[in-house]
């Protein structure tokens, strides 16, 4: 409720002072237009010298240089990463695109461009895997028989 009365009071003051507010704004607008004309002449004169009015000031350039130096100093102070430690990241890529038949296995970090696996390799691999599984089975059954 107090904020409502505050709004009403502000509105009352604005209405009373509105002629002065408008006058101040109009005077400033006239000043701004005159300033714009002056700035336009400055911009034109700078254009013929090969400069722009919007170019950064010397102080800005110096400040930017100082900032860059400070950032470089901070980077130099940072300790170097320890050797021998893995500092990589795993990226999981998902795609709706159907995979190539010849390449229907997960992508490994250790794959290189030259070591793309062909369908024959996959066949060999699967055969090798089945052999390994069979061997495992036989060893397990042998172990069981030995226990008996």
């Amino acid at each position: 409720m107090s904020s409502f009365f505050k709004k009403v009071g502000t509105g009352f003051l604005v209405i009373i002072l509105s002629p002065f507010i408008v006058l101040a704004y109009v005077l400033f607008a006239v000043y701004a237009v005159l300033k714009f004309i002056v700035l336009w002449f400055i911009a034109v004169s700078k254009f013929f010298v090969g400069e722009k009015i919007t170019d950064p000031l010397d102080i800005d350039r110096k400040a930017a240089n100082l900032f860059e130096e400070e950032q470089a100093g901070k980077k130099a102070k940072q300790p170097a990463p320890e050797a021998g430690k893995f500092a990589g990241a795993t990226i999981n890529i998902y795609s709706n695109k159907p995979l190539d038949e010849d390449f229907n296995r997960p992508i490994s970090h250790f794959d290189t461009v030259n070591s793309q696996i062909t369908s024959e390799d996959v066949k060999q691999l699967s055969e090798y895997e089945t052999k390994m599984i069979e061997n495992k089975k036989t060893t397990v059954t042998n172990e069981v028989e030995e226990d008996d």
């Binding site: 409502f4 505050k6 709004k7 009403v8 009071g9 502000t10 509105g11 009352f12 604005v14 209405i15 704004y25 400033f28 607008a29 701004a32 300033k35 714009f36 700035l39 336009w40 911009a43 009015i53 919007t54 000031l57 102080i59 800005d60 110096k62 400040a63 930017a64 100082l66 900032f67």
Partner: protein, 236 residues
């Protein structure tokens, strides 16, 4: 008591209540407009902070005079950048207006009035007969009592097609110019404020021999006592 002095009819009472509510509503609307304008100006003024933050943070600006000079220059350049777009749009609108005027004058031989209801922008707007608005007398005052009659209803006029383009461009220029000048004003005010506050120091609460930091070592009597003496040492 008032009833003895002034005889008020039921209609008069209703009119008074309606007028009172209308005045309150107007005051609230003006208050809200003022608040929103102040908020916008604050936001626009903060741009100076962004423009001056790097030179200030780097410690290259050492004096009030230097700050004032650079901040005003940057403010002027920012105003020039934004206002030049408005001026460019105004020139485009002016050229289109001139072409439209020449076409209307020499091709259609019709007088050009871009704001009028005949061949102007007002043809697509409602126009009210404000001159003959219905009025009623209230305590000797003649006040409007109803909406005025509608003179023109929105309709498309082929000859006014130029004004449908030119008038919105002018309106955009007017609004854009108003906002740009307001932003320039708010940034200027911000520069003055920062000039006064940034390089000022308040020493009213400072003392030359400030013993505030020693307050931790004070005992109840308020006298500064060394730490090892004030705490009792119990030997076991």
């Amino acid at each position: 008591m008032i009833n003895f002095l002034i005889k008020l009819s039921e209609t008069d009472k209703r009119l008074i209540i309606a007028l009172f509510l209308l005045v309150i509503l107007l005051l609230v609307i003006f208050g809200l407009i003022y608040d929103s304008v102040v908020r916008i100006m604050d936001k626009q003024g903060k741009k100076i902070d962004a423009m001056m933050s790097l030179p200030i943070a780097s410690g290259l600006i050492m004096s009030r005079k230097q700050f004032k000079k650079i901040a005003h220059y940057k403010n002027d350049v920012q105003f020039y950048k934004t206002f030049s777009r408005i001026v460019a749009l105004l020139i485009v609108a002016g050229v289109l207006h001139l072409i439209y005027f020449l076409v209307m004058e020499f091709v259609f031989s019709k007088p050009l009035n871009i704001w009028g209801t005949e061949t102007g922008f007002a043809s697509i707007l409602y126009t009210f007969d404000w001159a003959n608005i219905p009025t009623s007398t209230f305590f000797g005052l003649t006040l409007p009592s109803d909406w005025p009659a509608v003179i023109n209803r929105p309709h498309f006029v082929l000859e006014a097609i130029g004004s449908y383009v030119v008038v919105p461009l002018y309106l955009v220029c007017i609004f854009g110019g108003f906002v740009t000048i307001l932003a320039y004003l708010s940034r200027t005010l911000r520069v003055f404020k920062l000039t006064n506050t940034l390089f000022s120091a308040d020493l009213s609460n400072k003392r030359i021999h400030d013993l505030g930091a020693l307050s931790q070592n004070k005992n109840d009597s308020g006298i500064n006592v060394p730490e090892d003496v004030s705490t009792a040492v119990v030997k076991k």
